[in-house]
């Protein structure tokens, strides 16, 4: 099913995108409201929560360029040493910019 990108068509597309995205924001909490939260379920969602971050970052590192790798490595080191997020993030971004500048 195709929609022409006329003004009306685009409005319909954007509205549907908004509805689909809102459904993802609401769906998880909605489904969980029917689940009894046993210690096992709580353990599942807590472990899942910290795994979300890893599942975003690791493929990003594998698919990224040298700048991306430098950014993630730098953030890791500074974060583990200082335990302070802002310097770690800033150093990571700077590392990406530097590596890309040098790699031309």
């Amino acid at each position: 099913m195709t929609v022409e990108t006329t003004p009306t068509g685009i409005l319909i597309i954007i509205a549907l995108m908004a509805v689909v995205t809102l459904a993802t924001r609401y769906g998880g909490a909605f489904v969980m409201s029917f689940v009894r939260i046993s210690p096992r379920i709580e353990s599942f969602i807590n472990t899942m929560a910290s795994s979300v971050l890893i599942a975003i970052i690791v493929p990003m590192a594998f698919s990224g360029d040298a700048g991306a790798l430098a950014a993630l490595a730098t953030t890791t080191i500074i974060m583990l040493v200082t335990r302070r997020p802002l310097p770690a993030i800033a150093a990571g971004i700077l590392a990406a910019a530097l590596v890309r500048l040098l790699a031309g």
């Binding site: 195709t2 929609v3 022409e4 990108t5 003004p7 068509g9 409005l11 597309i13 954007i14 509205a15 995108m17 908004a18 689909v20 995205t21 459904a23 993802t24 924001r25 609401y26 998880g28 909490a29 489904v31 969980m32 409201s33 096992r40 709580e42 599942f44 969602i45 807590n46 472990t47 899942m48 929560a49 910290s50 795994s51 979300v52 971050l53 890893i54 599942a55 975003i56 970052i57 493929p59 990003m60 700048g67 991306a68 950014a71 993630l72 953030t75 974060m79 583990l80 335990r83 997020p85 770690a88 993030i89 990571g92 971004i93 700077l94 590392a95 990406a96 910019a97 890309r100 500048l101």
Partner: protein, 245 residues
């Protein structure tokens, strides 16, 4: 009424504090928004249409993917499938906050979730792991992130030429570095490290061999399975030396 079923102590002052806490990261989000606005008008959207999308969808990666599929005609089902796949991580994020969210009345609960996105969720999830219930960051942080995304889009559609190459400045790595810092700042038990290993392997395998855009959900669920079968024993958190790699 005796005991309220919704005991969450909502602190309006903290909403404001969390707004300012996420202000620095939001400055970078402005740059992303500008990149999106530029991409959208280059693909043929009118400025107001791009703006409407940022206001109502508020999910960067899926918006980039959507305008990538733009043309004189758009295949609706594939487009919405991509949007759903990229944003399906919200399902897990919402579910993971449910133990806190259920302490809010439903109307407010779903009001809070309107503003759920990666960065403010990461803060709330990290706080929850450290024993603090913080839904105010979803609202305060979400508002500043949303404003930044909308302002960035406006800058991009009208003055797109100002920021031609956000990658050269490393700006594409802001979210990655932010999420990584949040992950490393959380509580790390041997169980978490095993879950991370499983999640990494599953996410990479899904990224390599499964249809695109579902690796986050696959990896996160695989990590969750570790928690399902391996329960943390003992309530008292003892300080542990970092296990050697």
């Amino acid at each position: 009424m005796s005991a309220t079923p919704y005991p969450y102590q909502w602190q309006p002052a903290r909403v404001r504090a969390e707004f300012f806490r996420l202000l620095p990261i939001s400055l970078f989000v402005v740059a992303f928004g500008a990149a999106f606005g530029l991409a959208a008008v280059q693909e043929g959207l009118e400025p107001l249409q791009a703006l409407l999308m940022s206001v109502t969808v508020f999910a960067g990666a899926s918006q980039f993917a959507a305008v990538d599929m733009w043309g004189t005609e758009v295949s609706l089902v594939p487009l919405l499938a991509v949007v759903f796949a990229i944003n399906s991580r919200h399902l897990l994020m919402g579910a993971s906050l449910y133990p806190v969210l259920r302490e809010l009345p439903p109307a407010r609960r779903y009001g809070v979730l309107l503003l759920l996105t990666d960065a403010n969720w990461a803060v709330a999830a990290q706080d929850y792991q450290n024993g603090r219930k913080n839904l105010e960051v979803i609202v305060g942080g979400g508002l500043v992130l949303w404003l930044a995304w909308v302002i960035g889009t406006i800058l991009g559609v009208y003055f797109g030429g100002l920021l031609k190459d956000p990658q050269a400045l490393g700006l594409d790595m802001v979210l990655g570095c932010f999420l990584l810092a949040m992950a490393l700042g959380g509580k790390k038990s041997p169980r978490t490290l095993v879950a991370w290993g499983v999640a990494s392997a599953a996410a990479l395998a899904a990224w390599r061999w499964l249809p695109p855009n579902i690796h986050v959900v696959v990896g996160a669920l695989a990590g969750g399975v570790v928690g399902f079968f391996w329960l943390e024993t003992g309530r008292v958190a003892k300080p542990r030396p970092d296990p050697e790699a």
